[in-house]
Amino acid sequence: MLARVLESLRSWEWALDGWIIVAGALCAAASALVGTFLVLRRMSMMGDAISHAVLPGLAVAFLVTGSRASVPMFLGAAVVGVLTALFTEWVRGVGKVDEGASMGVVFTSLFALGLLLVVQAADHVDLDPGCVLYGAIELTPLDTVTVVGREVPRVVVMLGAVFLLNLTCVLVLYKELQISSFDPALATTLGINARGLHFLLMTLVAVTAVASFETVGNILVVAMLVVPAATAFLLTRRLSVLLVLAVGFGVGSAVVGHVAALAVPAAFGYASTNTAGMMALTSGVGLLAAIVVTLLRRGQPLRIKNPPGSPLFVDGGGTVRVSGGGR
């Protein structure tokens, strides 16, 4: 078994696997930075909604420009991302339903529209619905651009730019994002535009989702947005540490995920599996490990107050349960 694992890793090539890991790590890091604030705002589902809803934005950008040029794609995504947040508020207000229901209506409709458009566009441009949904991180090294005399995968450049954008926003607007996440009403009375920051965050989530769709795909990006941040949330009570840990967990799951995608199936005599899937699975295992660590560290049954809207909680007896959505 060990021999088979070593055999599978013998085909390791830094020029290929290295770039795949870099792409995965940048995607995870960029997602973790904005995902942390989604988790803190109890808005994890908004990440889900927006990452699905950007699909029509992408499709329209493809149909209009006929190419996968980055700028129109990001514009399309940012617009639809903000629209998702706006529509959700609007449906909740007019339809008098709770946020979850209105989000569900808005993002599934937009996603469905996007799917129709993508299938339509696939006949005309080089766009594969499967790739949009599940990503194609393994193809990362094949499509390169030249940056300061070096061949760098296009996806890595794009994810690097989005990571830097997110990092800059989090560093420069650290205290604004903190206060508007913790107490938006107070922020507003202090002259800090909490609503504006909300839409900025939604835009960053949309842009991150677009940058990620070629690597981990439209669906698994949700895992990258939420899981590392949720893991870090279990282990620290400091926002700055939480951000660093979340990025660390994200990057770690990218590295471990790719190696595991090669090695784990090999151990059982199968060919390598999907890296993006393994990344998401790794971060999920990380979250479980964090729960166990928290349990052991406290030396007593874990008591986490069930966050409203969180599907996962630990009851008084220390048993991890899945809630039916109630408090």
């Binding site: 607007l173 604004e176 107070l186 009375t189 400091r238």
Partner: protein, 281 residues
């Protein structure tokens, strides 16, 4: 020391209700003056025609049954929810121009106490308006915040994550945050809700310190028994201002009856509160 206001006069059946809003003619020096303000949610009015003047240096209690619009009144003053009509002036100017002179203490349940911040960090948030966009919190700001925590008596808990604080300590943290704003007008939403006796005393002392320094505080309050003791002035609210003015003239059985209507349990409380101050006829 508690300064006890004179007890409200014993209500007599023949007395005319003090219905005319005291702020009928608005004084330009008022810390807060609200002119004919109406607020609605989904077209259903939740506050009708509120007309109110708060003189500077007073401690005002806002009292009324659940759903009377007490929190709504504060939020509408702060532009947190839109007004259908009416005008709000803070020290003679629109709120937007006077934002830095107003501090808000929201209800304790309005925030997520599992949020990863320490008590000190929460208090420092009160300075964010002054620090300005993009600039970091410096050591000087943290010192100001620590000093405010000292004033409310929990400086030793500065580094605690806020979920590790008791309800009373959380409330003190919120008050410290309002203190660092060095405002002239304080709007507090139920600061006395579910706090321990020591915290209640600390808040009362703080309110008196504020008044001594010429500051004004508008406090949503739910405990009728302590209204006369804590507040110079009272606003009885139930969708409309039922009565407002000096506590000793306005806080009467008749007005309470008008405010609370047929809510028997609350009326019993009110009766007890009044009976304690002056035996019912």
């Amino acid at each position: 020391m508690l300064s006890l206001s004179p007890p409200p006069p014993a209500p007599t059946p023949t007395r005319r209700p003090t219905l005319a809003p005291l702020g009928a003619e608005h004084s330009p020096e008022a810390a807060l003056s609200i002119h004919d303000m109406t607020v609605a949610y989904h077209r259903k009015p939740v506050l009708w025609d509120v007309d109110l003047d708060v003189p500077p240096g007073s401690l005002v209690g806002i009292v009324g049954p659940n759903g009377a619009g007490k929190s709504t009144l504060i939020k509408a003053v702060l532009d947190l929810i839109p007004r259908v009509s009416g005008r709000v002036l803070v020290f003679g100017k629109p709120y937007r121009q006077q934002r830095h002179r107003v501090a808000y203490v929201p209800q304790r349940e309005s925030v997520d106490w599992d949020f990863p911040v320490s008590a000190l960090e929460v208090v420092a948030m009160g300075l964010y308006g002054r620090i300005g966009w993009f600039r970091p919190v410096t050591r000087r700001h943290r010192e100001i915040a620590l000093h405010a925590l000292e004033r409310v008596g929990i400086a030793d808990l500065a580094q605690r994550q806020i979920s590790q604080l008791s309800g009373g300590q959380q409330q003190r943290t919120f008050l410290a945050r309002a203190l660092v704003q060095e405002a002239d007008l304080y709007l507090m939403d139920e600061p006395f809700a579910a706090v321990d006796a020591a915290t209640e005393k600390a808040i009362v002392r703080l309110l008196q310190d504020l008044r001594a320094a010429g500051r004004t505080a508008l406090v949503v309050h739910h405990d009728l028994q302590t209204v006369a003791e804590y507040f110079d002035r009272v606003v009885l609210l139930n969708l409309r201002v039922v009565a407002s003015g000096l506590t000793e003239t306005v806080f009467t059985r008749e007005n309470l009856q008008k405010t609370y209507g047929g809510r028997l349990t609350l009326m019993t409380e009110a009766a007890e509160a009044l009976a304690r101050e002056a035996p019912a006829p």
